[in-house]
């Protein structure tokens, strides 16, 4: 009788360990393991299990195991498979981690399956969600993922002549006489401002133009004021603006005020600060094939392709769009990061989600591309 309790405890412990090892779920956290196998994975007897194994191993950066989950039928290179997950050329993906995933079957037969996965990434610019469709095939009594061939562009060696244009800033010495070094700040102007209520609070948005002949570093601040003249909140445009504006360039801006009800706001004080900064006119990034389409969930998205017309690699492209109604009023400012680096003379797709209640009103849009490049920002 005195052995029953220890035996039960040992048995329960063993069962719990087995359950934990075999059913480590998608959103579970892996602590202290950056690579290598520390857990058992279940036999991929179903498409769902096979894809789970692949994603779990990818999440743990257990590349050998992950690559073993991929069907050999496709000409997949292990290095490009890893690069697909870890990013390259200092892209946003290279600084991101797979936090979790949700798998949803789309179509399953005895031998083939198509699954849709929502991948949750943690990135330096906040959480990013990515949706990918995977095809799986049965090989004997197990399922494997048919990994698509990498669509990473292969840029041939070439010489791209560029007329390089930049502005340098020369500051006078401290012993200059008074009045001799007064270089005016760039002239920038807020061309539109539209406060509106949004799901999570109030939003102030609009556009700014650099009217000067020199580049400007721009930041927009808005202060919400109540009926008594007291400031309710003050926020800046943070990353919802293209901070460096070249002459005559226009950028959208959006300032979010979480948990502020616009009904309590009587006035909005806008403040724009422009500073003279050294800047470069390159790289030039074109925004091609822009159109509003429904995405896989039926939500309206603005999609298109970024085309790098210069000879420099853009590590992290950032797309900001003004959405206008039929009167040309800015309805909304949306933005999105492109996770892949933009190599010279290549394209990369982007999508920006349009809020559901505004999709029907959007008549036009203006897209600008902000960029972060290693060694130049």
């Amino acid at each position: 009788m005195k052995f029953i309790l220890p035996i039960v405890l040992v048995a329960v412990t063993a069962v719990l360990i087995a359950v934990a090892l075999t059913t480590a779920n998608a959103t579970g956290k892996t602590v202290g393991i950056s690579a290598g196998s520390a857990f058992l994975t279940a036999k991929p007897a179903t498409p769902d299990q096979a894809l789970s194994n692949l994603l779990l191993n990818a999440k743990r950066r257990n590349w050998d195991e992950a690559f073993n989950s991929v069907s050999n039928a496709q000409p997949v290179n292990k290095q490009s498979f890893i690069q697909d997950w870890t990013g390259s050329y200092g892209s946003l993906r290279a600084f991101s981690s797979l936090e979790g995933y949700d798998i949803r079957p789309l179509h399953i037969t005895n031998d083939e399956a198509q699954m849709r996965v929502r991948l949750h990434w943690t990135t330096p610019v906040g959480p990013i969600e990515d949706v990918r469709d995977f095809r799986l095939a049965r090989e004997g009594d197990i399922w494997k993922t048919l990994w698509p061939k990498s669509d990473m562009p292969n840029v041939p060696s070439q010489v791209i002549p560029v007329t390089y244009l930049r502005w340098d800033l020369v500051s006078g010495g401290s012993d200059d006489e008074w009045g001799a070094k007064n270089i005016d700040a760039p002239h920038v102007r807020i061309v539109s401002m539209n406060p509106l209520d949004f799901a999570e609070g109030a939003v102030v948005l609009g556009e700014v133009v650099n009217e000067d002949t020199i580049p400007a570093f721009v930041n927009v601040t808005a202060t919400l004021v109540d009926g008594s003249g007291n400031a309710i909140d003050e926020e800046t445009s943070f990353d919802k603006i293209d901070h460096i504006l070249l002459p005559k360039q226009v950028t959208p801006y959006r300032i979010d005020f979480p948990k502020v009800n616009l009904k309590n706001v009587k006035n909005v004080r806008m403040n724009i600060k422009a500073t003279l900064v050294p800047a470069s006119a390159d790289p030039v990034i074109g925004v091609m094939n822009q159109k509003v389409d429904p995405d896989y969930q039926g939500k309206a998205v603005l999609r298109g392709d970024l085309f790098n017309e210069s000879g420099q690699t853009v590590n992290i492209p950032h797309v900001i769009a003004s959405l206008y109604d039929n009167n040309g009023k800015v309805l909304w400012v949306a933005d999105g990061y492109v996770e892949r680096a933009l190599l010279p003379q290549t394209s990369a797709p982007f999508t920006i989600e349009i809020p559901k209640n505004m999709a029907s009103k959007v008549q036009n849009f203006h897209v600008v591309v902000n960029q972060y490049s290693v060694g130049r920002n």
Partner: protein, 285 residues
Amino acid sequence: MQSFLHCGVVCLALFLAQARAQDITAPKSAVAGEQVSLSIAGSGKGTFYLIGPGISNKHEINLGEEMKLRGDVLRTAGDYQVIVCGDPCKSATFYVMPAKPFSISFLVHPSRVPVSQSDAVSGVALPFDQFHNLVLAPVPINFQLAAGKASLLNKTEMTQSGAAWFRTASSKSAGALQVTAAFQDISAKRVVQQVASEPCNLRLTGQRNAKGILVQTEPVHDCSGNPVPDGTIVSFTANAGGVKSTVDAPIKKGLASAQMDANGAAVISGASGVVMGNELRMGAK
């Protein structure tokens, strides 16, 4: 504590001096940095106080002798008070005027200005003597504005309360505007950069190539014929079958160009600032 006592003594002396007869002869005015002679009636020893802007002095003197104040104690323009305490205390005041102009502080606004703008350039000149006193007496300041070899302005303004100023239009040509304020052999120079105004008559040309359509502007000028500065953004837009492509391209060497990704028939337009260019209608490839 010592300064407090000193101040107390000075105040007491002032009080006594106001109450007694004035037997100090001082000039009504003097010039900054120049020596001043005072004659003080009386005999025996006395205590001399000098109180002025930024200075207070005290020393023992022999009454009845002429007193010379060195120029270096009278560098700051303003009212000075002399108090001599023998028996009784006496006081006098005199005014030290700024010396002749030695330098000109010159403030010109703005540092950059579009061409052909009326009342766009202004400048203020303030003459100072060698001791940094603002010269309040009227002084003729000659303002000269020159763009290249052309003289745009040459006029003389008298200072009023220590300041002379001008306001004028920018010229029609872009480039450096040399602005000079001068008095006799003293001058101060500033440079205003005159820049092209808004682009005018933006003309686009386009041709198909292997990648799509290469569109470029003709040389971009403002309405006065000045080339618009390199780096100015020209926004190209191509509409092809409901699909829009845009490129914000900077002007380089006077032209802006962009590669547009459009295989079908497309309508291409361009804009820079508030100026729209012509529309290009390109047929399908």
